[in-house]
């Protein structure tokens, strides 16, 4: 492990990383709106360096119930990719895709696997654009899905960062539609991957 400090991924690089969030999430949005056959918008992506204590508050508190699809990323770029939506949005999303199968019901096996599939397709679109932008290989693992408290879900990537320090760096893109879809893409590269991504985009990190 090279001696890389998160604080060195300073704000000078944030604009470049934001652009990744922009293009990646833009492609994912296109895939999502094709799937839903409606317009989906997104906000300006944010690059955030957070204390662990702030992570839980990222999405409406530690106990906010979210549906999350997590993929581990391997290849030249390693880390995690997450697709998270609020519980109601997840229900809305699944209903739209399955033609109203989940109306007013709890999430069953079928609903979860629909959610997993949606997550898989749109994070795939995000990661593909990341790969072609940087010319680096990106191999996502099969997706895993859960519905739980935001704090518990976000502790999973936070723990991986905990090995190196007390902060987590992530690229967050928020999206929404006219009705009730509200969710996030979070790209969480490992520390070494930041260096590779920035280098590939012609902005080498100066240590």
């Amino acid at each position: 492990m090279k001696d890389i400090n998160l604080d060195q991924v300073s704000e000078n690089y944030y604009d470049v990383l934001k652009e990744i969030g922009n293009i990646g999430a833009g492609n994912a949005m296109t895939a999502l709106s094709q799937m839903l056959q409606c317009k989906v918008d997104m906000k300006v992506p944010q690059v955030r360096l957070l204390e662990f204590s702030e992570v839980g508050e990222l999405m409406g508190g530690e106990e906010q119930i979210m549906a999350a699809v997590l993929l581990a990323v391997e290849g030249d770029i390693t880390g995690y990719m997450m697709f998270m939506v609020e519980e109601d949005s997840a229900r809305h999303l699944i209903n739209k895709i399955t033609g109203g199968m989940l109306e007013g019901m709890e999430f069953d096996e079928m609903g979860l696997s629909a959610m997993q599939e949606v997550g898989n397709i749109i994070t795939g679109a995000y990661l593909n654009s990341l790969s072609s932008m940087t010319n680096l290989t990106v191999f996502p693992s099969p997706p895993a899905v859960t519905i739980d408290m935001a704090g518990a879900i976000l502790s999973v990537p936070a723990i991986q960062f905990g090995i190196y320090g007390d902060k987590i760096l992530l690229i967050q893109s928020q999206f929404y539609d006219e009705i009730q879809l509200d969710g996030y893409f979070i790209l969480i590269p490992d520390l070494e991957s930041y260096e590779k991504i920035l280098g590939a985009l012609g902005v080498p990190m100066i240590m």
Partner: protein, 164 residues
């Protein structure tokens, strides 16, 4: 009026009855609640990783690790007047939040389990008995601990509240 102190991720706090301590959304992390039933002094530490010694580099947050976090909680409770020989513990958390099919992300899956093992080993080393545990499985937990009675309340999504 009693107060419930909030413990963050990789954080610890002590309290004296009738006050309590809580932590929200434990995933693969473990919440270790310790109390001295005589003095009703208690505390909670929310650890993220098993072992502070396996990690190199400048690590300042001792509450992040099972070994150093429990040591520090016990030390702070002793400073308030608790005695280690009387201390008892309850633990919760250490879930495997995402079930990945096949390889690739195995390191993620094992963290909860390794955290629980490290917590048990540390408590054994300090001779602090574990009175109750609610660990593992695949869901997050919010916990509240009352040193007055030792009741450890556990909330999870879509499940009735449980007291251990």
């Amino acid at each position: 009026m009693s107060e419930i102190l909030k413990v963050g991720i990789a954080d610890l706090k002590t309290c004296v009855s009738p006050n309590g301590v809580m932590t929200l959304g434990l995933g693969s992390c473990v919440g270790i609640a310790i109390r001295d039933p005589m003095t009703k002094i208690g505390g909670l530490v929310h650890i993220m990783l098993p072992d502070s010694k396996a990690i190199t580099g400048g690590q300042h947050n001792i509450a992040k690790f099972a070994d150093s976090g429990i040591d520090e909680l016990v030390r702070q409770m002793e400073r308030l007047g608790a005695r280690r020989v009387r201390m008892v513990a309850k633990i919760a958390g250490g879930a495997n939040m995402f079930n990945f099919q096949g390889g690739g992300a195995n390191a993620v899956g094992k963290v909860g389990e390794r955290n629980v093992e490290a917590v048990k080993a540390k408590l054994r080393q300090l001779n602090i008995p574990i009175q109750a545990a609610d660990t593992g499985l695949n869901y997050g937990r919010t916990v509240i601990f009352y040193p007055e009675t030792g009741a450890y309340h556990i909330r999870a999504v879509g499940k009735p509240e449980k007291v251990i």
